[in-house]
């Protein structure tokens, strides 16, 4: 009986960790196949605005607070309010616009697939063949860590 409870609990822990895994996705036309955290941060703070092939970087965000969004910004080391402050500064300085915030991960997949130069993030299990996966964020929410 005891071993089966342990197996069940391990499965629950594994399942919740797996759910918070986030995939950084991009349009298939982007000229890279993987991305480092620092490069990703530069895209999301507007410091880098073009891919190496000169296509503009189009950054997407999720509108609503979610585990996926939290994991993504935790990985970048910025709180959502800090990111908002960075984007507002860029916008009011005439240096760029904040990422377009989408309603759902399904929207994110669709928009990234159909927008040249686009980059975004979704849960790992939602990845499909229409987009390129650049990075899997393995980090899980601290509260869920066993």
């Amino acid at each position: 009986m005891k071993p089966s409870i342990l197996v069940f609990l391990s499965f629950v822990v594994w399942a919740s960790s797996a759910q918070s895994q986030v995939a950084v996705i991009a349009n298939k036309a982007v000229p890279i196949n993987e991305i480092k955290k620092t490069e990703l941060l530069d895209f999301y703070t507007g410091d880098t605005k073009k891919w190496d092939n000169q296509i503009p970087v189009i950054v997407f965000d999720l509108k609503l607070k979610s585990a996926v969004k939290d994991t993504f910004y935790n990985f970048l080391g910025k709180s959502p309010s800090r990111m908002k402050s960075i984007w507002l500064k860029k916008m009011l300085s005439g240096e760029g616009e904040p990422p377009k915030a989408l309603e759902s991960e399904e929207d994110m997949l669709k928009k990234v697939a159909e927008t040249s130069g686009a980059i975004g993030f979704v849960s790992k299990e939602k990845i499909n063949g229409e987009v390129k996966t650049l990075l899997i964020i393995e980090e899980v929410d601290h509260e869920r860590r066993p």
């Binding site: 620092t38 410091d47 605005k49 709180s79 309010s81 009011l92 005439g94």
Partner: protein, 387 residues
């Protein structure tokens, strides 16, 4: 022949289309913000106690991406309940520039712009970005009638190159270099018969300045400097002797240093500015200094508290008349402002702010019974709206 032309045309179209397809110039974007406030000022110097509502600031931006690499930006600013019929406040064309961006290492801005100097200069009038209602004194453009804010900071440039160079992992080297006019040079000497066009630099000198700094994660620091010539020493030869032309243009040097750091919910930022004039006069000094330090805490995503301390020190030169004798004296005016406040964002576009500031003024002159000390309080509440 016709078929060949057709093929060439089709080939050209097929070559050009993808390039154009990557960028479509959007509509002109119109946006802006305003901050309206209610303030209570206790009695201070000759001013009585007062309560006042104020539309402290309104800025209107127009922006258009002209192509993939070029963008235009215009910023109109209205201060202090601007009304031309009542002769209140002021309306300014603060910025009108064209930007070329080829890579992150190289951006070029042409046209009227606010140059990068320390942390705040470039964003000093972006009230939605700042938690303050009354900004650190030299950045408080609505106080420019009382404090010579333009002497502390370069306010206008016309050409600027800036960007950043990635260093080691996550570290970046920021730089900016700019050119502009020397200020106030257009005013002719009192004995001059010539007329000048207002707003035009009639000298052969420029404002030259820049900033270089380093960013590493949430740490940012840098040094800034600017060099220009001013003409407000004209006429001083009456008191100190020498040729009038010696004081037509006096070199001014500004030096700044900035530091900011965010650690979780805690933020810190500070700046230092010193302004010196190369006048070679022992009996005259208009040197200035300023610093501020702000420690803040994000209680949550919406609520931010801060405490801040500002210091402004200004040397000044006065004229002392006694019997038939006229002489110059050097004085010193210090303003110290400990202040605290909070900002609460009810949405991404609306922020309520409250601030209390203690103002301590200390004017020291080497004349008996002429030195002054005064102090007072400002209590302000405001709403900042980004639209």
């Amino acid at each position: 022949m016709t078929r060949q032309r057709l093929l060439v045309s089709m080939a050209l179209i097929s070559m050009c289309s993808p390039a154009f397809a990557q960028f479509s110039p959007g509509d002109i974007k119109i946006f802006g913000y305003f901050q309206t406030s209610l303030s209570h000022q206790s009695r201070l110097q000759s001013d009585p106690e007062q309560n006042s509502f104020s539309l402290q600031q309104l800025n209107l931006f127009f922006q258009k991406d002209l192509s993939q690499n070029w963008a235009a930006f215009v910023n109109f600013e209205f201060l202090n309940n601007f009304s031309s019929s009542r002769q209140w406040g002021s309306a300014n064309l603060e910025e009108a520039w064209l930007k070329y961006r080829s890579r992150k290492e190289f951006n070029l801005k042409l046209g009227l712009q606010i140059p990068i100097f320390n942390n705040l200069n470039e964003i000093k009038n972006r009230t939605p970005l700042l938690p303050y209602i009354i900004r650190p004194l030299v950045y408080e453009t609505s106080f420019s009638e009382f404090i010579p804010v333009e002497e502390f900071l370069p306010n206008r440039a016309y050409v600027q190159v800036y960007g950043f160079i990635p260093l080691a992992t996550e570290a970046k080297f920021d730089y900016s270099v700019y050119l502009g006019n020397s200020p106030n040079i257009a005013t002719p000497r009192p004995d001059s018969m010539g007329t000048v066009q207002t707003g035009v630099d009639t000298s052969d000198t420029f404002l030259f300045g820049g900033r270089m700094g380093v960013r590493y994660r949430e740490l940012k620091c840098g040094v800034s400097a600017s060099l220009d010539n001013v003409n407000f020493f004209q006429g001083i030869e009456t008191f100190v002797g020498g040729a009038p032309s010696r004081f037509d243009e006096v070199r001014r040097f500004r030096l700044g240093a900035d530091f900011s750091y965010n650690l979780g919910p805690v933020s810190f930022e500070g700046e230092f500015i010193t302004v010196t004039y190369d006048d070679d006069l022992d009996e005259v000094s208009l040197d200035k200094s300023f610093y501020y330090a702000t420690l803040g805490y994000h209680l949550n995503e919406r609520l931010y508290f801060y405490g801040s301390y500002w210091f402004t020190g200004q040397d000044f030169t006065g004229i002392f008349k006694e019997a038939n004798q006229v002489s110059l004296y050097k004085g010193d005016a210090d303003i110290k402002v400990p202040t605290a406040g909070l900002a609460y964002s009810i949405s991404d576009r609306i922020t309520f702010k409250a601030q209390v500031a203690r103002v301590l003024i200390d004017v020291i002159v080497p004349i008996p019974d002429r030195s002054q000390k005064d102090s007072g309080y400002y209590y302000t509440a405001a709403v900042s709206v980004f639209f």
